[in-house]
């Protein structure tokens, strides 16, 4: 048993402040364990969202010492426990209460994306090599840490014109699917605001599933958009050979 100091945001988007707590913890505990112990022993009204406690549901996202992370996957041992640990809600989304944020904007964005649209004559058979790329994207647990850390949303608040890394990953999975027939490139260029991404790779750095979001999803999509809308050689080639 040892004692740690926690500084946790308490309040809503309208008003709130960081409150300090001192807590007894044990070897092997993660940040979410500390939050649960705090709820049980000192602050039963402390709000936080969680579910699986195994890094698979993506519910317990927060900012621990300023870094977007899953509380259930952050061991207290890995933090400088001789100093106060700061736990804040995701900055990009409105705070409902304490550590729980309203991430419903993401679901609104998701609805705008053309879903999987198989070709009418598609043969539902493909090889592993065709879907290796997509399987990486399917690991996404929708924790929205990438959305939180992306400065286009976090700092510049471009929610109305930018979909964010999570949905670039989803659209990459759909665009690269061997039997999908929908065309999402115009949407990516305009409504989804792919051009706002300036490759900071912060989304990749915080992804708890280690998805290479920038290299494998965003940049390949950017290149597809360039093929379609910017590259005069590709545009001419398509016109000459009537390829869409």
């Amino acid at each position: 048993m040892r004692s740690i100091r926690l500084k946790i945001f308490r309040g809503t988007s309208n008003s709130g402040e960081f409150k300090e707590y001192t807590l007894e913890v044990e070897e092997g505990m993660v940040v979410l364990d500390a939050i649960h112990r705090l709820q049980a022993t000192q602050s039963p009204d402390l709000a936080c969202r969680w579910n699986c406690k195994a890094g698979k549901c993506g519910s317990c996202s927060a900012e621990i010492n300023g870094k977007p992370r899953l509380m259930c996957m952050t061991r207290l041992n890995d933090l400088p426990v001789n100093k106060t640990i700061t736990i804040a809600p995701l900055q990009t989304f409105p705070i409902m209460k304490d550590l729980a944020t309203d991430v419903s904007w993401n679901y609104q964005v998701n609805k705008k994306i053309t879903p999987f649209t198989p070709k009418s004559n598609a043969e539902w058979h493909w090889e592993q090599k065709d879907i290796d790329r997509i399987q990486e994207f399917r690991k996404c647990i929708e924790c929205f840490l990438c959305q939180d850390v992306c400065h286009v949303l976090r700092v510049h608040q471009k929610h109305s014109v930018y979909a964010g890394p999570r949905f670039f990953v989803r659209m990459a999975a759909l665009e690269m699917h061997p039997i999908d027939s929908a065309d999402r490139l115009p949407f990516l260029k305009t409504d989804a605001g792919l051009g706002y991404c300036n490759i900071t790779k912060c989304c990749t750095q915080v992804c708890p599933e280690s998805i290479a979001i920038t290299d494998n999803a965003i940049i390949p999509l950017k290149e597809r958009v360039v093929d379609r809308f910017y590259d005069p050689i590709f545009i001419l080639f398509r016109k000459l050979f009537k390829k869409k």
Binding site: F9, G11, S13, G16, E63, N65, G66, K67, P68, P80, K83, T86, A88, P89, Q91, I95, W126, E127, K129, D130, V149, H151, V152, R154, V155, H156, K158, E175, M176, H177, P178, D180, G193, G195, Y196, C197, N198, I199, T200, K201, C202, Q205, V206, T214, D215, I219, P220, K222, E223, R224, V225, V226, D227, Y230, D231
Partner: protein, 255 residues
Amino acid sequence: MSNNSLGATARRDLWWLEPAGTFAVLVLFIAYAAWVGLSGTHYEWGPYLSPFYSPLFKPTWWPFSPAILVLIVPLGFRTTCYFYRRVYYRAFFMDPPACAVGEARKHYEGETKLLVFQNFHRFFVYLAVVFLVFFVIDDIHAMMWPINGILPNGQMAPGPKTFGIGLGTIIMVLDLIFLSFYTFGCHFLRHLVGGSLDCFSCSKTKETRHGIWKIISKLNEHHMAWGWISLGWVTFTDLYIRLCSMGIIHDVRIF
């Protein structure tokens, strides 16, 4: 709760170290490259040619350093490269300086307006691949030594040539290798050879492209490392040839 002013963050680590270090390294490189590129001297010694001056074009109507005619290609290639974009957006424009750290600029358009030219990276990639061919030729020249030796002014003595390897040859070959790994690990080439396909198994050609795509993907995983290594080594190669040319150091002939 949020404070997005420049440098505002709750991070406790040394987040400023990476942008500050990158800034320092890039400023040093830019200063060195500008000095080398504008000087127009000491870029050759014996069979060696500085990569800053390759391919060597010296038209009579051009009064300035010949490097100015060719440096636009590596400069354009690196400045539009996805890896370097990330680096200088962070280090120079602080957009953002680091993840989850506040930034200076409040008006942000990303790569949608002024920076839309970044989408033409691919044209610099084509030219960069052509430049690699020139570097291969330079390396072959760096293995052809005059039988009558090198003159005191660093020029090759007239007469027949024979095969030989000097320390500078090895440095130049390594430069070519590092530049090739960096160039062929490019995101655009990865897209061009196979990334644009949705189905890799649909034809023999596509299967071949998938094979090449996998190789480029492997290189691409270390694109950042090759970007830094090649940048450092190209500087070192020029410095070695420059110091040989200035007579400050002497090349070692291995055989």
